[in-house]
C-alpha cells in the first residue's frame, strides 16, 4: 500500500472504536465467568433445596429466602473447630516460613562465602519437588517419631505444620532474596556503626524495610497452606482435627446431594479468603509478579 503512516492513522478511529468494543466484550465475558458462578452459589445458599433445582437463577426473595442452610451447616458440621484448626495451622506455617526463610534470604543476599552459589541452586531445586514425591516418607518418619496419626491435637497440628513449612521455604527465600538485594545497604551500615549486631539489624531494619515482600510471602504461604487438600488428607485423620478444606472434602463425599448445605459450606469457606483478598489485593498480585517471576 502507498498510504503514508499519517493517513493510515486518520482512517483508524471507527475501526479503533470498534475493536475497543470487541476487546471490552471479550474481557467482560471472561470476568463474568469468574464472578457469576460465585454469585450463583451465594444466591442458592439462601434457598430451599426445591428452589435450587427449579428456580436456580432466581434471586432469593420472599418465600424462597431461607437461612436454614447456614443453620444446618453450623449445627451439623464442626465448622468453628475447623476454622480454628485452619487458623492455627496456616498461621503457624506462615510465621515460621517468614522467619526461617527471611533469615536464610538475608544470609544468602548479603554474605559472600564459599558455596553460596551451590546453596542458591539447592533452594531453586527444592522448588521443583512436588508434594507427591516426599509425602510418603515424611509421613512414615513422623509416624515413627510419634507425632503423625495421634489423638493429640497439638501433635497433629505439629505434624502438618512442619511439612508445610518445608514446602513453602524455597519459594519464600527466592522472593525475599530478590527484594533484600535491591535494598540499599546504607541503613544497615549506619546501624552497624551505632553498635547494632547483625541479628538485630535483620529484625529491626531488614524486616520493616522489606515489609511489602514479607507481606506477599506471608499471604501466599497462608493461602497455600489453607487450601492444600493433599497434605491435609494425609495428616488430618480425625474429624475433630479437620481444617476447613479437609472438612469441605468430607462434606462433599457425605452430603453430596444436600445442595443447600453444599452451597452454604462453599460460601463459608470462600468468604474469609475473599475478605483477605479484597483487603490485600495490591500486595497479592503485584508482589507475586515483582518477586517470584523476576527471581
Amino acid at each position: 500500500m502507498t498510504t503514508s503512516p499519517l493517513v493510515k492513522k486518520q482512517r483508524n478511529p471507527v475501526r479503533a472504536a470498534l475493536s475497543k468494543i470487541v476487546i471490552y466484550i471479550v474481557l467482560g465475558l471472561w470476568a463474568a465467568t469468574t464472578i457469576f458462578p460465585f454469585l450463583w452459589v451465594l444466591g442458592n445458599s439462601f434457598k430451599e433445596r426445591k428452589f435450587i433445582l427449579s428456580e436456580t437463577f432466581a434471586i432469593p426473595t420472599g418465600d424462597m429466602f431461607t437461612t436454614s442452610n447456614y443453620q444446618t451447616a453450623f449445627d451439623r458440621i464442626p465448622i468453628f473447630t475447623a476454622y480454628r484448626n485452619s487458623l492455627v495451622i496456616s498461621g503457624a506455617v506462615t510465621v515460621f516460613v517468614i522467619i526461617i526463610a527471611g533469615l536464610c534470604a538475608y544470609g544468602l543476599a548479603r554474605y559472600s562465602f564459599k558455596g553460596r552459589r551451590l546453596l542458591h541452586s539447592i533452594v531453586l531445586a527444592a522448588m521443583m519437588f512436588p508434594a507427591f514425591a516426599t509425602i510418603i516418607p515424611v509421613y512414615r518418619m513422623e509416624f515413627q517419631w510419634g507425632i503423625a496419626n495421634t489423638h493429640s491435637l497439638p501433635l497433629t497440628w505439629l505434624s502438618i505444620i512442619l511439612p508445610q513449612v518445608a514446602g513453602n521455604i524455597s519459594f519464600a527465600v527466592i522472593v525475599l532474596m530478590g527484594y533484600i538485594r535491591s535494598l540499599p545497604i546504607d541503613l544497615e551500615e549506619a546501624a552497624f556503626l551505632e553498635g547494632y549486631g547483625v541479628t538485630r539489624i535483620f529484625f529491626r531494619i531488614i524486616m520493616p524495610l522489606a515489609r511489602p515482600s514479607f507481606a506477599t510471602v506471608g499471604i501466599f504461604t497462608f493461602l497455600w497452606s489453607y487450601n492444600d487438600l493433599f497434605t491435609q488428607l494425609f495428616f488430618l485423620r480425625y474429624e475433630k482435627f479437620y481444617s476447613i478444606t479437609r472438612l469441605l472434602n468430607m462434606i462433599s463425599s457425605q452430603e453430596g446431594t444436600n445442595y443447600g448445605l453444599l452451597c452454604s459450606a462453599v460460601v463459608l469457606v470462600v468468604v474469609p479468603v475473599l475478605i483477605v483478598y479484597i483487603l490485600l489485593q495490591k500486595n497479592i498480585v503485584k508482589g507475586l509478579t515483582a518477586g517470584a517471576i523476576k527471581g
Binding site: 503514508s4 503512516p5 474481557l27 471472561w30 470476568a31 469468574t34 464472578i35 458462578p37 460465585f38 450463583w40 452459589v41 435450587i52 433445582l53 427449579s54 436456580t56 526461617i100 533469615l103 536464610c104 544470609g107 548479603r110 554474605y111 562465602f113 539447592i122 533452594v123 521443583m128 519437588f129 512436588p130 508434594a131 507427591f132 514425591a133 516426599t134 510418603i136 516418607p137 515424611v138 509421613y139 512414615r140 509416624f143 512442619l162 513449612v165 518445608a166 521455604i169 527465600v173 545497604i185 549486631g197 547483625v198 539489624i201 487450601n227 493433599f230 463425599s253 445442595y259 453444599l262 462453599v266 469457606v269 479468603v273 483478598y277 489485593q281 497479592i284 498480585v285 507475586l288 517471576i293
Partner: protein, 300 residues
C-alpha cells in the same frame, strides 16, 4: 558485588544462624524423604505406617507393573492431555486476554483483580461449586443451555463422553488468571521507546503484536510453559473432589490421584504409590527439559 565487602558481614559466625534453620528443614523434609522415596519404591510396603516387609521380587517390580497396568496408562494419558490443554488453553487464553488488557486504559486493575481471584480459592471449594454448576438436574450449565434453547434434554456432564471436559474446564479456568498476571507483567516491562519507534514507522496494531510484543515476550512465555508443565503434574484437589476414584469406570485417573489411591485411598500399596510419585517427577523434569530445548531463546 560491593555489598559483600561491607564490614557488617566480615564476621561469618552469624551466618550459621541465618542458614541452618532453612537448610535443616529442606534436608529433613524434602531431600532426605525424596531419596528415601526412591528406595521405598523398590521395597514391599503394605500400609503407610508399616515397616517394609523386605525388597520387592524382582526389586524393580513396581516399574514393570506400571508398564503393564492399564489404569496407569489411562492416568498418564490423561495427565499428558491435561498438560497439553494447560499449555494451549490456560496460557493461550491468558495471552489473548493480556494482549487485550494491554491495549486499554480503563478497567485495567479491575480485570487483573477479577481474573486472579479464582487462584486463591481452595480447589476443594471450587470442585464442590463446579459439581453444582455441572449438576444434571438444575445445574447452572444445563439450565443456561435450556433457557437459550440449545438443548432439549439435560446433559449428564459426568458420563463417558463428557467427563474430560467437565474435569478439565474448571482446572483451566482457575489458573488462567495466574498466567495472565505473569504475561501482563512481561508486557509492562517492554520499554515504551520501542512502541514509539513502531508508531513512527506506522506499524499497525497487529504488526505491533506479532513483530514486537510476542518476540519480546519469549522469555515470559517460556516461564509460563515450564510452570504449565510442572503445574499440570501437580493437579489433584479439583479432580479428586469432582471425580473421586476415577469415575466414570476408571476413566478419569490422573497420575496424582492414582498415586493417592495406592497410598491412602484404599489400595494399600504404598511402594507402588512411591514408584508413581517418582514417575511424576521424572515426567516433569524430562518434559520441561525437552520444552526448553525446543523453544530455547534464539540468538538474533
Amino acid at each position: 558485588m560491593k555489598n559483600h565487602n561491607s564490614m557488617i558481614f566480615k564476621k561469618k559466625g552469624p551466618l550459621l544462624l541465618f542458614l541452618v534453620p532453612a537448610f535443616a528443614f529442606l534436608a529433613v523434609y524434602l531431600f532426605y524423604p525424596f531419596v528415601l522415596n526412591i528406595w521405598n519404591s523398590f521395597q514391599d510396603i503394605g500400609g503407610l505406617g508399616q515397616a517394609p516387609a523386605g525388597m520387592n521380587d524382582p526389586w524393580y517390580k513396581n516399574y514393570t507393573d506400571m508398564a503393564t497396568d492399564p489404569v496407569m496408562h489411562t492416568a498418564i494419558l490423561n495427565t499428558l492431555l491435561i498438560m497439553l490443554c494447560t499449555i494451549l488453553f490456560q496460557v493461550g487464553i491468558a495471552l489473548v486476554l493480556a494482549l487485550m488488557v494491554d491495549g486499554i486504559r480503563v478497567g485495567n486493575q479491575f480485570f487483573r483483580t477479577v481474573y486472579f481471584f479464582p487462584i486463591i480459592i481452595s480447589a476443594t471449594a471450587l470442585g464442590l461449586m463446579f459439581n453444582m454448576v455441572f449438576l444434571y438436574d438444575g445445574g447452572m450449565v444445563n439450565e443456561l443451555l435450556h433457557s437459550m434453547g440449545l438443548i432439549s434434554k439435560n446433559i449428564d456432564w459426568k458420563d463417558q463422553s463428557h467427563w474430560f471436559f467437565t474435569m478439565t474446564a474448571p482446572v483451566m479456568w482457575q489458573y488462567v488468571g495466574f498466567y495472565f498476571v505473569i504475561i501482563v507483567t512481561g508486557l509492562n516491562n517492554i520499554s515504551p521507546d520501542i512502541y514509539e519507534a513502531a508508531e513512527i514507522d506506522g506499524a499497525s496494531a497487529m504488526q505491533r503484536i506479532f513483530r514486537i510484543k510476542l518476540p519480546l515476550l519469549h522469555n515470559t512465555l517460556m516461564t509460563c510453559l515450564v510452570l504449565a508443565i510442572t503445574g499440570a503434574l501437580k493437579v489433584f484437589d479439583l479432580p479428586w473432589t469432582m471425580f473421586p476414584n476415577g469415575i466414570p469406570l476408571n476413566a478419569s485417573w490422573l497420575t496424582g490421584t492414582y498415586m493417592y489411591k495406592q497410598t491412602l485411598g484404599g489400595a494399600q500399596n504404598v511402594d507402588y504409590g512411591s514408584a508413581i510419585s517418582i514417575l511424576i517427577v521424572v515426567l516433569g523434569v524430562v518434559i520441561s527439559q525437552v520444552a526448553n530445548a525446543i523453544f530455547k531463546e534464539k540468538d538474533y
